[in-house]
């Protein structure tokens, strides 16, 4: 049973390992710098389907299949799965996994869902309630555009602060085991809102949540940024990343030299027209699977704080001119079984 430490942090008591993972992307992700780390790049973003929603569902099932084959397991070996996406009622996930037969927990944490899924899966595995759990999330540029913004063929102009929803999906399989990467601790995030209302500047809206969760983790565990090689937020983009660093600097926490953002890693912002960087549940999940987890396994990264951020808005709240609350969940992944604490 995971041990609660401080207000929001849970330390794993068993030796939890990420047994396998997978990352699937589409054309734009395939042109990005992490392309070679993906298990599958499908250049056709329809994934051979006749609606964008079906395309996203297909991507989810492909990712789950891939993670299982990487783990040399089948669906029967998985006790439960935590999964979510950005669509209303999480249909990307539920339709994608409806034939899998895995007991499913559908989650909505906007773009923070991957960490939320890993967090819940790890607590359940650590308590030895289940033996093996999975987490998967996805996002698709086209489904997100049509739900949250404009029709795809509408000629609107994206402001420089806007982010690009990744057409990508990532999955992990968690169990007790003796090979890195290990999952050491998790911190559950709180909803934070500093009053940003601009839907085209979500990085700024989410930065306070990321700052709050990170501050809480360091306080709860009595650690400091220097003890971790890398702090990877989910999709703050260029603007949100800068704000996060500044917000923490005010509290005397300096993360500048060891912070990166999955939204900045997945695309080449100079060459690809993505403005402030990538976003979406699939962005952090696929960067985790294509780059972060392999690096942790190989020891190129020894201690990683993985912290995707979610903007908890809906088209309705935006039209009602509500501000955009954010949330960030943190997962500590490590090449080492122990140490630091």
């Amino acid at each position: 049973m995971a041990k609660k430490q401080g207000k929001q942090t849970y330390l794993m008591q068993q030796c939890l390992t990420v047994r396998a993972w997978a990352a699937v992307g589409s054309k734009k992700e395939g042109q990005g710098p992490l392309a070679s780390g993906f298990d599958l790049i499908e250049p056709d973003s329809t994934f051979g389907q006749d609606s964008w929603e079906k395309a996203e569902s297909r991507m989810v099932s492909l990712t789950a299949d891939k993670a299982l084959s990487n783990a040399a397991l089948t669906y029967e070996d998985i006790d439960c799965i935590f999964a979510g996406d950005l669509l209303n009622q999480c249909v990307g996930t539920t339709f994608g996994l409806r034939d899998s037969g895995i007991p499913l927990f559908g989650l909505y944490g906007a773009c923070s869902t991957m960490a939320e899924g890993m967090l819940l899966a790890s607590l359940l595995v650590d308590s030895q309630t289940v033996r093996r759990a999975m987490a998967v999330t996805s996002s698709h540029f086209c489904t997100a555009e049509r739900q949250y913004r404009f029709p795809l063929e509408y000629g609107s102009v994206r402001p420089p602060s806007a982010q690009w929803t990744a057409t990508a999906s990532g999955a992990v399989v968690l169990e007790e085991g003796n090979q890195p990467p290990y999952l050491r601790a998790v911190t559950v995030g709180t909803v934070e809102d500093l009053g940003v209302t601009d839907q085209n500047n979500m990085g700024a809206a989410m930065a306070p949540a990321a700052a709050a969760t990170l501050r809480r983790f360091f306080t709860d565990t009595n650690t400091s940024p220097e003890q971790f090689d890398l702090i990877a937020t989910g999709d703050l983009g260029a603007i949100g990343s800068q704000l996060l660093v500044e917000l923490l600097q005010r509290d005397g926490i300096d993360i500048k030299s060891r912070h990166t953002d999955c939204g900045l890693l997945i695309y080449d912002r100079q060459k690809q027209d993505v403005h402030s960087g990538g976003s979406g549940c699939g962005c952090s999940a696929s960067v985790l699977g294509s780059y972060l987890l392999p690096s942790l396994r190989d020891g190129k990264i020894r201690n990683l704080l993985f912290m995707p951020t979610g903007a908890l808005l809906s088209p309705t709240t935006v039209q009602q001119k509500e501000s955009i609350p954010g949330i960030a969940h943190l997962v500590w992944l490590s090449h080492e079984k122990e140490g630091i604490l």
Binding site: P151, L152, E153, Y154, G155, P160, S161, V196, N201, A204
Partner: protein, 137 residues
């Protein structure tokens, strides 16, 4: 703090595109007006016919997945002319085809353009009331 970190649109980059492409669309409109006049279309209908041609052309470019790529560089250059209105009608019609012909195409067609018609007509009615009340016609 948020403002400081958020870059504004690159003014120097957006303005020439809007002017150039917007101007070219109007130039094309003028050529169409002259063309219809030369074909013997009644003078007062020529501008209407030209606008409708631009509407049809924009809808076609929307369908060919080209319009949004031009708009990326043109900004207001494609938005402000009647082409922007046509794109606002055609793009949701195309997009929500997957939700059916009635509630998808038919209903969503006015997702963006609906308010334009509503407030254009409302302004027209207000104007009509004023000129009728004060005998300004």
């Amino acid at each position: 703090m948020v403002k400081k970190a958020s870059p504004p649109s690159k003014i120097a980059a957006t303005l020439p595109g809007a002017f150039l492409i917007g101007g070219l669309i109007c130039l094309l409109g003028q050529m169409l007006i002259d063309g219809y006049a030369a074909l013997g279309v009644e003078q007062k209908f020529c501008p209407v016919a030209a606008s409708c041609t631009l509407v049809a052309l924009s809808a076609l470019l929307t369908g060919l997945n080209v319009f949004d790529n031009i708009a990326k560089y043109a900004g207001a250059g494609t938005l402000v002319p009647i082409t922007g209105f046509a794109n606002a009608v055609a793009s949701p019609a195309l997009e929500f085809k997957t939700e059916g012909m009635v509630l998808g195409v038919g209903a969503k067609m006015f997702l963006i353009a609906g308010p334009v018609i509503v407030y254009g007509v409302a302004a027209g009615v207000l104007y009509g009331l004023i000129i009728w009340l004060f005998g300004l016609y």
